[in-house]
Amino acid sequence: MTLLRTLFKTKGEAISFAAFAFLILLVLPLALPVFRLNLVGKYLSYGFVAVGLVLLWGRCGILSLGQGVFFGLGGYCMAMFLKLEASDPVTTAIQSTPGIPDFMDWNQVTALPGFWEPFKSLWFTAGAVFVVPGMIAFLIGWAMFRRRVGGVYFAIITQAMALILSLGIDGNQGYTGGRNGITDLRTLWGWDIRSEDAQFKLYFCCCLLLLAVCLLGKYVINTRFGRVLMAVRDQEERVRFSGYDVAMIRTFVFTVAAMMAGLGGALFVLQVGFMSPSLIGIVPSIELVIFAAVGGRLSVVGAVLGCLLVNAGKSAFSEAYPDLWLYLMGGTFIAVVMFFPDGLAGLFGKPSGAGAKLTKFLSKFRPSLMGAAVTPTQITPLNK
C-alpha cells in the first residue's frame, strides 16, 4: 500500500497509468494487424528515452540533446550480437573470410576485431546494453557536473557527443558498418525475430519493460529523492548549501536516463531489425526531446504517449499526404509549444483548461521550452 502510494500520488495518476497500460496491452494488440503493432512497438522503444528525459529534463532541469547516443549505444550492442549470430560460416560462405559480418568482408577486414568477440554471448550483450551507455554517461556527467557545467553549455556538449559518435561510426565502417549501419539481422538464439509471431511477442516484451521503466520513473519522482531533483532544478544553490552533492545527483540521474535509453535502443533493434548511425546523430537526439516535450516533460506517462502520438502522426500524415506531412508535423509542434507549454499531459491534472492556458499564454509570453523555465505551480511544494 505504501509502495502504491509512493508510485501514484493522486488517484488521477493511477488512473492515467492504468489507462495507458490498458491501451498498449489490450486495445492496440486487438485493434491492429501485426505489421502496425510492430510499428507501435518501435515508437514505444523511444518511450524509454522519454522516461529518462522526464527525470533528467523535466524533473532535474538538465536538457540533454544527446540522448540518441545512449539509445544508439544500447542498440549497437544488441545489433552486434544479432549480426554475429546472422554471420555463421555457412550463410557467409560466399565471402573471402567466411564467418565475419558481411560489411567487414567488404572492407577487407579479415578477422573479427577484438571488441566484437564478447558480443558472441547473449548474457554479455544483455549487460552491455545497460552498462556501456551507463558508463559513458557517468564519465561525461561526472566530468561536466563536477565543473558545474550546466544549462545551455551542457546541452551543447551533449550535441557534440552525438556528432562525435555518429562521425566515429561513419568513419570506421570496417568495424561498425559505417553509414549503412548493421543490417539484415535475423535470429536471437535461433529464434527468427522477423516472423509475425516473434514480432507479436517482442511487442509485449517491449510493453512490459516500458511499463516497468515507467513505474521506476514514477518511483524516483515521488520519493524524497524526486523532491531533491526538483530542488536541484529550481534552486541549485540552496540545495548545495544544504549539504547535498549536486554534481553527484545530476550524474546519477544522467546515468539512469542513459541506461533507460540503452534498453530502448536494444528493443528498437529487436523490433526493427537493424541499427544505423542515422539514429544517433544530432537530429534524432533533438527529435527525442521533441517527443517528450509534446507529451509533457513533467509526466512519465505523458512523455511516453508523446512518443507514440508524434510517431503515429508522422506515419499517418506521411502516408496520407506525402508532400505535405512535414508542414503538418511542424504546425503541430508549434501549436503544442505555444498553447500547452507542459505538453499534452499538462491538459490534465490542473484546474485550468486549454482555454485558460491560451489566455494565460497570450498575457504572459513566458518562456517554456528551456530547461531553466520555472512555473509558479512547480515551485510551491518546495516553499511549504
Binding site: 518501435k42 567488404w106 577487407q108 553509414r179 549503412n180 543490417t183 539484415d184 537493424f274 542515422s278 506531412w325
Partner: protein, 406 residues
C-alpha cells in the same frame, strides 16, 4: 506553363481513352495474380519509395519524376497486361528506418505489384531484408558499389566495375597517366569504388596511387587536400565526393587554380543534377564516367529528353540516375508481359534476358544476376552544365562480385 498543362491534359485524356478500351482486353485476374497482389481487372497498384523530404530529396527528385513519366507513358499506351498502373507514393524522408517501415507498409498493407525506389546504399540495405522476407520486387536506380545480388531486386544502375574500369583505362591511355590521387566521401560506395580503382591501377595498368583520402559526408573544407594535391602533382585526380561536399570540393579546387585546363580530373559522382549545384564554370574541362548523359545523341534519348522537359519544364536536367529510374517501369512491364503474370517469382524468373531497345541510353539487357549490361561513357563538362561525350565503350557485363578486386 500553359504548354505543359496542355500536354498533361492531352496525356490524361489519352490515358482515360485507353483505359476504357483496355479494361476488357487483359487476361483474367485469377490467372495473372495468384499471390494476392493489388491487381484488379483493370488496374495494378505499384509503390514508389524515395525521399521526397530531407537531405536526399534533391538527389531523388529526378528518379521520382522519371519513374512517374515512364508510368504515365505506359498507361497512355494501354498499361500492363491491359491494366492501368496506379501509384502509391511513400516518403522515405532520407531516414533509413523510415524506408524500412514504408517498404513493409507497401508490401504488407498495400500488396503492391512492385516498388520503384531507394537511392542511397544505406536505404537499400535497410529495405533489402524486408523485400526478401515479404517477397516483393524492388527496381533500384542508382549506380552503386556492387557486392550484392538478390532475387528481389533489379539493379538498373551500374555496379562499381561497370562504372570504373573502362573509364580508368580510357583516361590512362588518353592522358598517358601513371599517377592517381583518389578522393571520396567516407561511406561504402566511395570506399569500395576506390578499392577497385586502386587494384586496377596498380595491378592492371602498373600505375601508382600517390594518395587516397576519404572525407566525412557533408564535410566542406578541402584545403589540406588541395595542398597535398599541389605537392604530389598527380596525373589524374579520381574523385567520388558526394552531396553537399561536392559543391565545396569543386569550388575550392577552382579557387586554388586547379582547373580543367591544367589538371585532369575524372569523377564517378558528378551528373547533370550535381552540376546544377556546383556550377558548370567550376567543372569546365573535368571528366565524368557514367552510362548516360543528357546530351547523348540518339533518337530514343531525343524523345525522352523532350517528354521529360514537356512534363517538368524546359530548365529541368536529366542525370545518369534519373535515366536509370526511367528504365525501371519499362523493365517491369517487359518482365510482366514475358511472364504473363504479376507474380513476383515469375517476374524474377522472366527478368534475365529482357532487352530494352527503347532505352534513352541506347540498348540494355538484363543479366541473370539482375543487373544491366550497359556501356560506359566519358563526358567532358562544358560551361553550360552539359557534357560533351568523348568516349563510349562496348556493352559491359555486370559483375557485382569481381574476382581479383576484393
Amino acid at each position: 506553363m500553359k504548354k505543359t498543362n496542355l500536354i498533361t491534359r492531352l496525356l490524361a485524356v489519352a490515358t482515360l481513352a485507353t483505359a476504357a478500351t483496355a479494361g476488357a482486353a487483359g487476361p483474367p485476374t485469377a490467372t495473372v495474380n495468384t499471390t494476392g497482389l493489388a491487381v484488379t481487372d483493370d488496374t495494378v497498384t505499384v509503390g514508389q519509395l524515395h525521399s521526397a523530404t530531407g537531405t536526399m530529396a534533391i538527389s531523388e527528385t529526378g528518379s521520382i519524376q522519371a519513374e512517374q513519366l515512364a508510368i504515365d507513358q505506359i498507361n497512355a499506351a494501354g498499361g500492363v497486361l491491359g491494366r492501368q498502373i496506379k501509384v502509391i507514393k511513400e516518403d522515405g524522408a532520407s531516414d533509413w528506418p523510415t524506408f524500412a517501415e514504408k517498404a513493409k507498409k507497401l508490401l504488407v498493407s498495400d500488396k503492391v505489384g512492385t516498388v520503384f525506389g531507394c537511392w542511397t546504399s544505406a536505404s537499400r540495405k535497410a529495405v533489402l531484408p524486408v523485400f526478401e522476407k515479404e517477397n516483393g520486387m524492388l527496381y533500384y536506380p542508382t549506380f552503386y558499389e556492387g557486392l550484392e545480388q538478390s532475387k528481389n531486386v533489379i539493379y538498373t544502375g551500374q555496379e562499381a566495375t561497370q562504372q570504373i574500369l573502362a573509364g580508368i583505362d580510357w583516361i590512362a591511355k588518353e592522358k598517358k597517366a601513371k599517377t592517381f590521387y583518389l578522393v571520396g566521401s567516407d561511406y561504402i560506395w566511395p570506399r569500395t569504388s576506390m578499392k577497385i580503382a586502386r587494384k586496377h591501377i596498380e595491378n592492371v595498368l602498373k600505375g601508382k596511387v600517390v594518395g587516397e583520402e576519404f572525407y566525412a559526408l557533408g564535410s566542406t573544407s578541402f584545403g589540406s587536400l588541395i595542398n597535398k594535391i599541389k605537392l604530389k602533382k598527380p596525373d589524374v585526380i579520381y574523385a567520388a565526393v558526394v552531396g553537399g561536399s561536392n559543391v565545396s570540393f569543386y569550388k575550392q579546387l577552382a579557387a586554388a587554380g586547379i582547373s580543367g585546363a591544367k589538371q585532369t580530373l575524372l569523377t564517378i559522382s558528378v551528373t547533370e543534377d550535381e552540376v546544377l549545384g556546383i556550377g558548370g564554370e567550376n567543372l569546365t574541362g573535368f571528366y565524368s564516367s557514367m552510362k548516360y548523359f543528357q546530351s547523348l545523341k540518339n533518337p530514343n534519348n531525343g524523345d525522352f529528353v523532350a517528354a521529360f522537359k514537356a512534363k517538368y519544364g524546359a530548365s529541368s536536367v536529366i542525370g545518369d540516375v534519373t535515366q536509370a529510374g526511367y528504365l525501371g517501369p519499362w523493365l517491369w512491364k517487359a518482365a510482366v508481359e514475358k511472364a504473363g503474370s504479376f507474380d513476383i517469382d515469375k517476374i524474377a524468373a522472366a527478368s534475365p534476358g529482357i532487352e530494352l531497345k527503347t532505352a534513352p541510353e541506347g540498348y540494355v539487357k538484363l543479366h541473370p544476376n539482375h543487373h544491366l549490361w550497359s556501356k560506359l561513357r566519358i563526358g567532358q563538362w562544358q560551361k553550360d552544365g552539359q557534357a560533351k561525350v568523348l568516349y563510349e565503350s562496348e556493352l559491359i557485363e555486370p559483375n557485382p562480385f569481381p574476382k581479383g578486386y576484393q
